[in-house]
């Protein structure tokens, strides 16, 4: 399944419902893992553990929700190109897999969303603190 185009710095939605061979949602032995490979089948970054989402939500059959997922920010390890995601989960010792694809497009920075802004008046002028999704804090000066 192709999940879309993203730029470096954006977050891709990783997610799956862990199912048994009859496609029945079933809790795995441990948290599923996602591996991401580039077109040269080189793994980019380390294995990504997927937390459970809304564990106590039940489906219409009264089955515990087995949806796992998270947002994963594309770091500088990703260059432009197509990538494959391999999801792995283990149920009663048996490993199951599912795959997906996405494209990465060019971007000027990998630090992601600006999640905080704060004006800091200083003697030289107004400085702005910029909080980024990567956990970085930058300080810039008003260009105007």
């Amino acid at each position: 399944m192709w999940i879309g185009r993203y730029t470096v710095g954006q977050s891709i939605p990783l997610g799956l419902t862990s199912t048994d061979p009859s496609c029945t949602p079933t809790l795995p032995d441990s948290a599923p893992v996602a591996e991401i490979y580039d077109n040269a089948t080189v793994q980019v970054g380390s294995d990504i553990s997927l937390p459970i989402i809304d564990k106590y939500a039940l489906d219409t059959a009264g089955t515990t929700n087995c949806l796992f997922g998270r947002e994963y920010r594309l770091t500088s390890s990703f260059s432009a190109g197509r990538y494959q995601i391999i999801y792995k989960w283990v149920i009663s010792g048996v490993t199951y897999k599912r795959c997906a694809e996405f494209d990465v497009m060019y971007a000027t920075t990998h630090h992601g969303q600006v999640i905080g802004l704060f004006g800091v008046p200083r003697s030289v002028g107004l400085l702005v603190h910029v909080d980024l999704e990567s956990g970085r804090i930058q300080m810039g000066r008003n260009p105007h």
């Binding site: 937390p51 564990k55 060019y106 702005v128 909080d131 999704e133 956990g135 970085r136």
Partner: protein
């Protein structure tokens, strides 16, 4: 040009900041240690200088002399500005006709902020006052000596052990706690409140094991000593240690509950902290004595936890999700009174903004104005809309800013499944009008800042992009002055090709591209590539309706929409039904669409015919848009800014007479020129 000043901050919750009178910035997020930014430093330091711990520090008398008596000594860390931390525990050394005290194994701090150590000593036989005996002006030297007699020592800087009221004075320089995610400066003190809960991902817990693995979250050193809580489990556990490498925490006792590899959890301080406010010593915003705190009584707060607060109109205000409290005190907060003033609260520490000595605040009930007296609920007219449309799950990231130039306050909220707000609910506090805005990208932060003598709004967007309201981007003129619209030469499901007139694609990446005319009109996508040579533009998502050579696109376009109220159709057939729109003519190609809605329907009426007025107005069979061109020059004639359309005769027949209610929408895309709509005239209706 920006400079990195910190990395590795946990981003589960947004940072909050406050300025101190000496121009420093305190930064908290409730997950990591509180930080301070000084001046134009290119790094952040931990707020507060760490506690000095003896750890082998010893003073010993030697060398013959005239000094005799029992002396007490201790040390503390200082930073480059001389700001001290808490004093270490007092130790004693006996002099018997000695002259020199040698201090050895003076501890070195692992905190990069520490720039030196101060060693204090008492006079002979005293232990209530110490004097500065030696200063080590680095964080590496581990020994020093002193030969000061009592007479000389008494002239040095004095440090009282106890304050006159009996409180410990020498240990008032405590490091601010790390679990409070809001800090406010008020009445010469910093106030720390709103305890945080870290709940990211899930926890794998095993019965009988003290090790807990966090999946999908990130543990930090600051979590050491906090509580590990599983919802529904009676026992909360103290975290004994943290391993950031393996992303695990170790509990002080083994987990006694049922093994669960996918358990929800919370890492948080003790329950008392959620209604507690801590404050600093006056004039020392980083000095937080542990006992300097007050709790919002449970009967005052109905058990609600503090969610935010601010300093406003000479008082300190504390808010829970559904209540507001005023904290009145003169000098010492502990002697003050906390009064419940309003049954309105706030969503998070950032869900408010200030204009003209009034605060606009958002809680779950809506938006209200607060001037320090009463809460004025202004959003009642849109309360149904807010309740039905706002996605409250992401309210932690909602934020607000005021834009005085347009007399508007904007509340950024999520109206769809985005992680961060992609919409804003806007209120003009002069005209008392409401509207909402949608943006092509998420806006996770905003701030109102002074620029060139005016207060401007800046927005935080994707890919480290900061934009300013109402201004062009700071890019070269050639790349800024794009065409108003481009004819599509060819298109694929994920691209279109136009004649390029831009020099570099880097300024276009991330911008919006909208189909403003022709096939596929109305679609908006994001630009991910824009080849300046071939003119091929790659987009983020496929076109829902494919484009062809009749299509026109605008780069960086902004969609706008107006909607009138619902009118009742007049039975008087002498009054012909018509709609007219007054606009400013534009210098470049631009257009807007008028749409008609009957009898409260969500879908607009479709035209039964195709019609071209030859005056810049067209309708199309089986389409809803009455397309109006508003460029100043059209067909070699000048457009006067007025378009009118006879509904019954021009649009469709028969059905209009049966429509009891009518509503009109005007919408379009703004690109090169600003679109200004002065008014909408509707005839043949009442109400």
């Amino acid at each position: 040009m920006t400079t990195q000043i910190a990395t590795g901050r946990n981003t589960f919750l947004p940072n909050q900041r406050c300025l101190t009178p000496d121009g420093q910035t305190l930064i908290v997020n409730g997950i990591d240690a509180a930080k301070i930014h000084k001046g134009q430093d290119t790094t952040l330091y931990n707020a507060g200088v760490p506690l000095a711990v003896n750890s082998g520090f010893v003073g010993a008398w030697g060398t013959a002399g005239a000094i005799t008596g029992t002396y007490y000594y201790a040390f503390r860390y200082i930073d480059a500005d001389g700001i001290p931390g808490d004093l270490s525990v007092l130790q004693s050394a006996v002099a018997a006709t000695h002259s020199t005290i040698t201090y050895s194994n003076v501890p070195v701090s692992s905190d990069a902020r520490v720039a030196g150590r101060q060693i204090f000593r008492s006079l002979a036989g005293e232990n209530t006052v110490l004097y500065l005996d030696a200063t080590i002006n680095d964080n590496s030297t581990t020994s020093t000596t002193s030969t000061k007699s009592d007479a000389t020592l008494a002239t040095q800087t004095e440090l009282q052990i106890l304050a006159p009221d009996g409180s410990i004075f020498a240990r008032r320089f405590g490091v601010p706690v790390s679990w409070m995610r809001n800090v406010v400066y008020h009445n010469n003190r910093s106030f720390w409140f709103v305890a945080s809960k870290y709940t990211e991902g899930h926890a794998a817990v095993t019965n009988g094991s003290a090790t807990v693995t966090i999946v999908g979250g990130t543990v930090t050193d600051a979590m050491d000593g906090r509580q590990f809580v599983i919802p529904g489990h009676a026992t909360s556990y103290t975290i004994d240690s943290v391993s950031t490498g393996s992303n695990t925490v170790t509990l002080s006792v083994v987990y006694a509950g049922t093994t669960d590899l996918f358990s929800p959890y919370s890492i948080q301080p003790s329950k008392d902290e959620f209604r507690r406010v801590r404050w600093s010593y006056p004039g020392e915003p980083e000095s937080c004595y542990d006992n300097d705190s007050a709790d919002l009584e449970s009967d005052q707060s109905a058990g609600e936890e503090l969610i935010g607060g601010f300093s406003f109109n000479s008082f300190m205000w504390l808010l829970t999700p559904n209540a507001c409290y005023r904290w009145s005190f003169a000098d010492n907060p502990v002697a003050g009174q906390i009064y419940h003033t309003e049954d309105r609260g706030m969503l998070n520490p950032k869900s408010y903004c200030r204009f003209e000595n009034t605060l606009a605040i958002m809680d779950r009930a809506g938006i209200y104005l607060f001037n320090g007296g009463n809460a004025n609920p202004i959003s009642n007219v849109i309360s149904d809309w807010l309740r039905d449309n706002v996605v409250w799950d992401r309210q932690e990231w909602f934020h607000a800013s005021a834009y005085p130039a347009e007399e508007t306050v904007k509340f950024f909220v999520c109206l769809d499944g985005s992680r961060y707000p992609r919409h804003s609910v806007c209120f003009n506090y002069r005209t008392l009008r409401w509207w909402w805005e949608e943006y092509p990208w998420e806006i996770a932060s905003s701030a109102t800042v002074p620029i060139a003598g005016k207060r401007e709004i800046i927005y935080g967007g994707e890919c480290d992009r900061t934009t300013m309201h109402g201004r062009y981007a700071d890019i070269p003129t050639d790349d800024r002055d794009l065409s108003a619209r481009y004819a599509v030469a060819s298109a694929t499901p994920m691209s279109c090709t136009v004649t390029a007139d831009w020099a570099s694609e880097s300024y276009l990446i991330g911008s919006a591209i909208a189909v403003v005319a022709g096939k596929g009109k109305g679609q908006i996508r994001r630009i991910y590539k824009a080849n300046a040579t071939t003119g091929r533009i790659e987009i983020d998502r496929p076109w829902a309706t494919s484009l062809d050579t009749t299509s026109y696109v605008a780069l960086g376009a902004v969609h706008w929409q107006l909607q009138t109220k619902v009118f009742e159709t007049l039975a008087d057939t002498q009054q012909k039904a018509a709609v007219g729109v007054y606009v400013d003519p534009t210098d470049n190609a631009a257009s807007f669409d008028v749409k008609l809605y009957y009898n409260h329907r969500q879908t607009a009426v479709l035209s039964e015919r195709t019609y071209d007025s030859q005056r810049g107005l067209k309708v199309f069979k089986d389409r809803a848009d009455i397309e109006c061109q508003i460029a100043r020059t059209q067909d070699n004639k000048e457009f006067d800014g007025w378009h009118d359309f006879p509904i019954e005769a021009g649009f469709e027949s028969g059905r209009h007479a049966k429509a009891r209610y009518q509503q009109f929408g005007v919408e379009g895309f703004q690109s090169r020129d600003r679109i200004v709509v002065h008014g909408i005239d509707v005839t043949g209706v009442a109400g």
